[in-house]
Symmetry: C2
Subunit: 355 residues, 2 copies
Amino acid sequence: MPASWFTLRWEGGALHLLDQRRLPLVETEVACRTARQVVEAIQEMVVRGAPAIGVSAAYGVALSALAHAPLSGSGEDLARRMSDDVRALRLARPTAVNLAWAVDRCERTLAAEAASPASLAAAALVREAVAIHDEDVAACRAIGRHGAGIVPQRATILTHCNAGGLATAGYGTALGVVRGAVEAGREVNVIADETRPFLQGARLTAWELQKDGIPVTLIADVAAASLLRRGDVDLVVVGADRIAANGDTANKIGTYPLALAAREHGVPFYVAAPLSTVDMTLANGSMIPIEERGADEILQLFGTRVAPEGVGVRNPAFDVTPAAMIAGIVTEVGILRPPLEVSLRDAFRGVASRS
Amino acid sequence: MPASWFTLRWEGGALHLLDQRRLPLVETEVACRTARQVVEAIQEMVVRGAPAIGVSAAYGVALSALAHAPLSGSGEDLARRMSDDVRALRLARPTAVNLAWAVDRCERTLAAEAASPASLAAAALVREAVAIHDEDVAACRAIGRHGAGIVPQRATILTHCNAGGLATAGYGTALGVVRGAVEAGREVNVIADETRPFLQGARLTAWELQKDGIPVTLIADVAAASLLRRGDVDLVVVGADRIAANGDTANKIGTYPLALAAREHGVPFYVAAPLSTVDMTLANGSMIPIEERGADEILQLFGTRVAPEGVGVRNPAFDVTPAAMIAGIVTEVGILRPPLEVSLRDAFRGVASRS
């Protein structure tokens, strides 16, 4: 994890978040001291990226526990008092499954402490959040190690949105593959889609790669197909917000048309994500809820209105790329290859058998 | 042509252009009194859109003629004095062929007046520019009449960039089809791609459709594939900057990935353009020069820097959609159907036989 910047850190009983809305112009942090502040930070995209909001939500549960423990008797009593906070954290955003996954884990910890004094239950929840945080870093580093294997010695990698250190606890999934490849001695150039409407590619991916000294070229999203056609891209690697049991992958809006163009031009298209992003309860991608965000993301840019008053807007924040278009999913347990339905099932069996 | 706004008009010996860089926030005009001012206006995109820059260039030639005629003897002498201006107009932007087409027409007029007094030659050039202007309006209206035939009674039409009244002398090509359909009694909704990086969809298409009372919904370019997949779009209609003899079509960057998504979901993809946009001297789209525009279009939005200093940028302004992905080209002489190589050749034979 780079020393010069952080996505989130737990310090002094508060969750400190790098305010991603203000990057790259201003590097400032937001301190969340209550669960509700974490909910708000997730909704307003102070922190974003499926793994990062999972880790943040876990700290949000811990903050709720610390706030309610002094008034609670047992862990069971604490759980009752925390239930509104926990629900708000779980529902803060709908598409990324890591949020529900992290909250579920915290709830299991809480349930296991039902008979303990509330203060011990709260301490267990802080430990659980720290564990989820540490595991995220470890998973991303493992994704990087496995991912290096798909990167040629000299490679141009195209990515969409920010599946980087800023989308995780600091190393990244898609950009974890990039970092893993660089650490393995590959010569890597990254082409970053700017990623309208929120410009995560321009504001975040370009920023963090530049911080780490990795060459990055920025393009409008609509230019990706032309570069793929010209043979300027060796592989596409993106992150994921939720992967269904058959491998269909929800990710930032624009991922699906990128996959179409990659397939058209024979460029391999990879997804990089920890297994916590996989939702084995959904048979396929049509069941993944797609968040629709506000019209102002389209109508305004940095406070300047770009379209006339009164026009309609549609602003789906994610799309679903069919499993058949994915060359592999780079996870912390290795690269899952098609048929993804089978390799995902096997990966979860393997995790279950180890734990 | 709508009464409430204009793209360009010739008045008082000057070319008046609606300043499209400032729409939709400010409606103001730029008056060009010299050919060099027209060159600058085209390069800085005060006026843009293949047909509109063709008409503007013709007026630019007329302005050059009016400036040089008092010092010239014959038309031939005038032509010599105008040659720098004419070259600059022809080269103002590289991709749209209408520019060269219009300048060529003016040069033929000038050549025919070689033996005339310079003042008469200049008058002929003003008449030629007005004729090109009038023909553009007539061609767009004819495109609208023919295009109405491809629009169902209730239709949602998706378009990219602005191939509207603002891209022509006032009625539009792709939006000419929309206007033609509305005039024919169809119930039309338009979905407009915002069209990064210059945001012609948000700033121009949404503005002019709203001026004309046609319902418009704005989306990020990257959302188009999702809407096509959901079945929310009946047909895609775009303009063109240059069409090769085989039907390959250069248009605003982002047109090609839109065509890929339309094909994937069985939604017909049409191009609307006057025959002046066809370059029969190029066998196919690989020969069309693609303009690369400046990095600041990507790095800045309304003066706010959106990416960190020092990142690379690639900013191709156009892409090429293969003829095979095009259901038809709506022209002023009718809808040309595949095989486009044949129907384009026949259309030009027809034009030649009528003229």
